[in-house]
Amino acid sequence: MKVTLWGVRGSLASPGADTARYGGNTSCVEVRGDDGAVVILDAGTGIRPLGRALPPSVRRIDLLLTHLHMDHIQGLGFFAPLFEPQVEVHLWGPPSTTLGLRERLMRYLSPPLFPVRLRDIPALILHEVSDDTFELGELRISAAPVCHPGPTIGYRLASPRATLAYLPDHEPALGAPDFCAASAWTSGFALAEGADLLIHDAQYSAAEYAHHLGWGHSAIEHALAFAALAGVRHLVTFHHDPAHNDDEIDRLTAAATSAARPAFRVTAGAEGAAFGLG
């Protein structure tokens, strides 16, 4: 499979000269299966340029949402294939305990927040997913709830040749005094275990995290420790804080990696970066 990052920023899009290298778009990752399956992870603002770049021959797109915070769905209404009747878009995401996925999405895709209503989108098929496994072409998708405020899931995408784990908003260290020692008691472990590529929340520095406990995100150090526990081959840090410019991401990533001395490859996620797996 081929994995391409279209948006790596957390919380809020942050365009500008000092974020141009890593990019200012919010969460969106394209996964192309070896069999041609088109899977998109999250619909942050990065999905707008992705929509324009998809070839017109694509007839089915599976869009997997981890949760419905605005930085993960804001690009949805600007995803051009949604308005192409010949394209079938399957949208997968978690319901809440009281509202279905459709009702939750309608809160954004309806006036006054957005001029187009969800019901007016031609070929959108919704699938509620929480703790499930399903197949898209040759990709076996596992979804499971993870530690983040509100209904939030992470994904594991396994082909016969490689595995990708995607946990863009994840705070496994929350209230875990033994973090990151006990795999059984670590949120997200089963999703990430042994993955060839782990895309993981690394929003804060360790010092910043101390002031954001419970906000649902990780320090870069936590991402490194989690990746080590899970035994992944390659960690891509993701969901960069909008207040971090390119130089700060370089500096924080280098410092944390130098201290942790991981046995796996570490890459700070950047828009346009692509990874071939398997």
Binding site: P95, T133, C147, S187, F189
Partner: protein
């Protein structure tokens, strides 16, 4: 369902354990199979042994090991233990009872037990909160 339940607990159970580890009330936690997977430090005081020493324990063991008895001192069968009621019958219950800890001390306690139901009605386990009312 993710096919690795042996290596990671459900997130709801993880969060329940984290909450229990921060509360001053004694709390007992079992998973969907009824296995005792955690009790917190205040519970260690009542049960007379640290969790790290006992480790996980199947339902057949924990339901009897504390020699539960009713107010009159009559032994409670395992299916009348509050945490077992919450686990098996999936309903909340509040019971006064006596238990004998690992330290061989008999204590009178009140216990409230509730099942833990995750979204889509997924049962992930049960927890019991204890209050020691007296040493019997």
């Amino acid at each position: 369902m993710l096919s690795a339940p042996a290596t990671q607990k459900p997130i709801e159970l993880i969060l329940a354990r984290q909450l229990a580890s921060y509360l001053a009330m004694p709390i007992f936690l079992v998973d969907a199979a009824g296995t005792l997977v955690f009790y917190n430090e205040p519970a260690e005081g009542i049960l007379g042994r640290r969790f790290d020493e006992t480790g996980e324990m199947p339902a057949s063991e924990w339901a009897a090991v504390f020699a539960p008895a009713d107010d009159a001192g009559c032994a409670l069968p395992p299916d009348k233990v509050p945490l077992m009621i919450a686990h098996v019958e999936r309903r909340p219950v509040h019971v006064c009872l006596r238990i004998r800890g690992f330290d061989n001390v008999c204590r009178q306690i009140e216990a409230t037990a509730i099942p833990l139901i995750a979204p889509a009605g997924r049962y992930v386990g049960a927890l019991a909160i204890f209050w020691e009312t007296a040493q019997a």
